[in-house]
Amino acid sequence: MAIKIHPGQLLFVSLLTLLVSCQPAPGPQLYQQQLFAFGTLIDISIVTRNSQQAQDAISEISSEFDRLHLQWHPWKGGELAQVNQQLALLKPVAISNELAELIKQSQTLSQQSEGLFNPAIGQLIRLWQFDQLENDNFQFHLPSPKAIQSIVDRKPEMANLKVFKNTANKSFVQSDNPAVILDFGAFAKGVAIEKMLTILKAHHIDNALINAGGDLKVTGSKNQQPWRIGIKNPQNAQDPSQPAILAAIQLNSGEALFTSGDYERFFIANGRHYHHIIDPRNGYPGQGVRAVTILDTDAGRADAAATAIFLAGPEKAMNIARKMGVTHLLLIDSDNHIYLSPAMAKRLELLTENSTSIFSTHD
């Protein structure tokens, strides 16, 4: 048996094979690096043609995270630690303009949140030892109810602080309540991420994602596609047979996603879980909510709002969100019921079968 084939046909097939084996010209590459910084694990993804550019930016980001972590740590020997030692004297304390800005921003957010976001409760955080997660030489012990109550009774709040400048344009802070100790654990990460994006911009990096321990902000896109984020399912933390991802969402340039949850950072004592989101109203970990995720263009506000709305609970969530200027929120209560703001419902793709309700805009 024989088949006749024209040489032209053979040439055509050969050319076709050549075409198939073609690769697109090397475009921008995804450059990823993980850092141990700011008391957490930070993943940086940068889309660039120039890996040196990415490396330079990451090394600057790394030292900036280290600097801010020390400066804003409540007791480790940086600027905030020194300020915290002097605040109780109720005299003016000289501070950097950077710290003055941080205090003023958090005063506004604290007031808007009706005190649920309250960085003035550093004494409570210390008592619960949630400022010591990086340290290994401590053993968790349950604080005494009396010690908790005595701090709560003294009502430390951001309104106790006055930030002002002297005639030489130098910033000062003065407290009128000796119970005030500042701890920016629910805010510093958000503000720090904003600073990191400024660094990326200075390095002419337009497409990047910074994920600091599950709280993140993006700029630009990934190869012309929006950054696609999976929101972790709190139920999966206890029960691995539950889906790992609760919802998927695509982020536009400049959007941040911040979560406060009870499911990773906690201590167990006498068979009970004690998580790290302390309610300033009673001094104990907030009850009734498993997680709150906030989408906002301002990472600092998203960070503060996640904590405040976690403590507000589903009944007051929309009210506090509106006061803080936040529109996109996801809340999961302790029965794993999902609540979404109308704006968030439009953006999220839910991937689980949990019962879900949409907050009314008139709450």
Partner: protein, 134 residues
């Protein structure tokens, strides 16, 4: 295969056709196995990072125990049936062990005091990042 001079045509014999058919089948099989063979969205690799060293990758195909020395002591990591977890670490707070199994690409946990992190990677992850407590 013979090319009769001047005829302008190629004559294929029976065995040639079998070989061509086999080559075409091989192409089709390679196309599907290479593009879609590794389940998209499934984790296949464990990345271990110790302090500031460059990360090391381990296949999730082989069940094994990995032992690493970090800042404060040792961490023991288990790979089993395509998942990974800390089963021991020298830290007191044990957040890394409480975290349990990592199952999804992008999922990550760390023993911060020991400065050891583990992260799962997939062939084509559905997500660029995972958001939420960790």
């Amino acid at each position: 295969m013979t090319n009769a001079p001047g005829s302008g045509t190629i004559h294929f014999k029976g065995t040639d056709i079998i070989i061509i058919l086999l080559a075409v089948l091989l192409c089709v099989w390679l196309y599907f196995s290479l593009w879609f063979g590794q389940a998209i969205g499934k984790a296949d690799t464990l990345i271990v990072q110790i302090d500031d060293q460059s990360p090391t990758e381990y296949s999730l195909k082989n069940d094994r125990l990995l032992k690493f020395n970090g800042r404060i002591g040792t961490s023991l990591i288990e790979i089993k049936q395509g998942k990974a977890r800390f089963i021991h670490s020298s830290c007191r707070n044990q957040f890394c062990v409480f975290h349990g199994w990592l199952t999804t690409p992008g999922d990550t946990t760390a023993c911060l005091p020991n400065r050891i992190s583990i992260t799962l990677k997939g062939y084509a992850s559905e997500y660029d990042a995972l958001a939420g407590e960790r």
